[in-house]
Symmetry: C2
Subunit: 219 residues, 2 copies
């Protein structure tokens, strides 16, 4: 039997906040290409975070997000001006929370809650505040302190250290299977938030549990 | 001015051999879905190689390739039997070389040539032999010895060590921009083989030169 969970730690992008909520702005700027731009931007953002960590060339998530957007516009042959690029980037500071997030976090208000994210401290502060969640979390933990992106084990260790909770007593929640895989492999109890009912990635790791919405986290 | 190149080191998949040459078989097995399966399979194969290295859970490239195929079939809702899966995997051992590869390597026959690849030793041996390139390379170097995938710098270091050539005197050739980025960052002279005229990835690294075909490597 698993030990009692002393703290819940949440991934941010894709889990609490919807990276594809920029689609509306992208579509307004580049009619007919909003969905494709949003999709490629996110894919490249993750790819760059992984390969930069592997090749020991960390840049913070704001830079990685900007670079991924620049590439995506080139790749899709969208003539993105600097002003348009900045508008899309700024929208990342105000991504919308998924619909059930606020209410679900309120139900967990008597628990210790933190965020552990690739996002830079400024990005995390902004997106949390813009969604009225300023007081929901005791810590907003960023990989920026370590200059390594998820799913490097040092990132998950940092959360256990900062919260002073043994890793097996942390409940980690993410919609990104590769993030859940890293956290499971590290030793957290893990909850794969699978809103879109996607198949599990084949990474040799099984999360503790799967959830369909954040509301399922506590019965 | 760059020092003279003492050895050329080639990436395998995407550079010498076309991972999408399995598309015909994929299309025969799953009519209407060959291109999508081929694309997603390759994307996931790379993703798994990166996140497994980051989370310290290396499995060899044969396993990663099989797992990526399994996921891709699930994701595209293709009812792939074990026999079909094995047929697709086996095709990976006989990927077709790009059209200009054989002739271009013959023109370089008086130079030291090696492969440095994510592929397992068995995979590399098979694909090289099946393309009649058995005697073209003095070494087939696999990341499998290190249990780390590209673009980790130790992979490129291994090539310099095994060939006993200073890194700045190695000419590294890859079609995969992230691989060229890792090799450039490590200190090789690099040639980005950009057959499809793709935009460069935004990884803060500029290759030594770009080529449109392998025939451009030597004037």
């Amino acid at each position: 039997m698993n030990p009692a969970i002393q703290a819940f730690v949440f991934d941010a992008y894709g889990t609490l906040f919807d990276p594809h909520s920029i689609r509306t702005l992208a579509e307004a700027l580049f009619p007919g290409h909003g969905a494709a731009l949003s999709q490629l931007w996110r894919t490249k953002q993750l790819e760059y975070s992984w390969v930069r960590t592997l090749m020991h060339r960390y840049e913070d998530f704001w830079s990685v997000t900007r670079d991924a957007l620049t590439f995506s516009c080139h790749s899709l042959q969208l003539p993105c001006t600097e002003k348009q690029r900045d508008a899309l980037l700024d929208a990342y500071l105000r991504l919308e929370a998924f619909p059930e997030v606020k209410h679900s976090l309120e139900r967990l208000a008597n628990r210790r809650l933190a965020i552990l994210s690739n996002g830079s401290p400024r990005m995390l502060r902004a997106v949390v505040d813009s969604n009225g969640l300023t007081h929901a979390f005791e810590r907003l933990l960023s990989v920026d302190e370590l200059k390594l992106y998820k799913p490097h084990p040092a990132v998950y260790q940092q959360a256990a250290d900062r919260l002073k909770v043994p890793k097996e007593s942390i409940g980690f929640v993410s919609s990104n299977f590769w993030d859940v895989a890293g956290a499971t492999s590290f030793g957290f109890q893990t909850f794969w938030l699978n809103r879109a009912e996607l198949p599990a990635d084949e990474l040799g790791v099984t999360p503790t549990a799967a959830l369909q919405t954040l509301a399922d986290l506590l019965p």
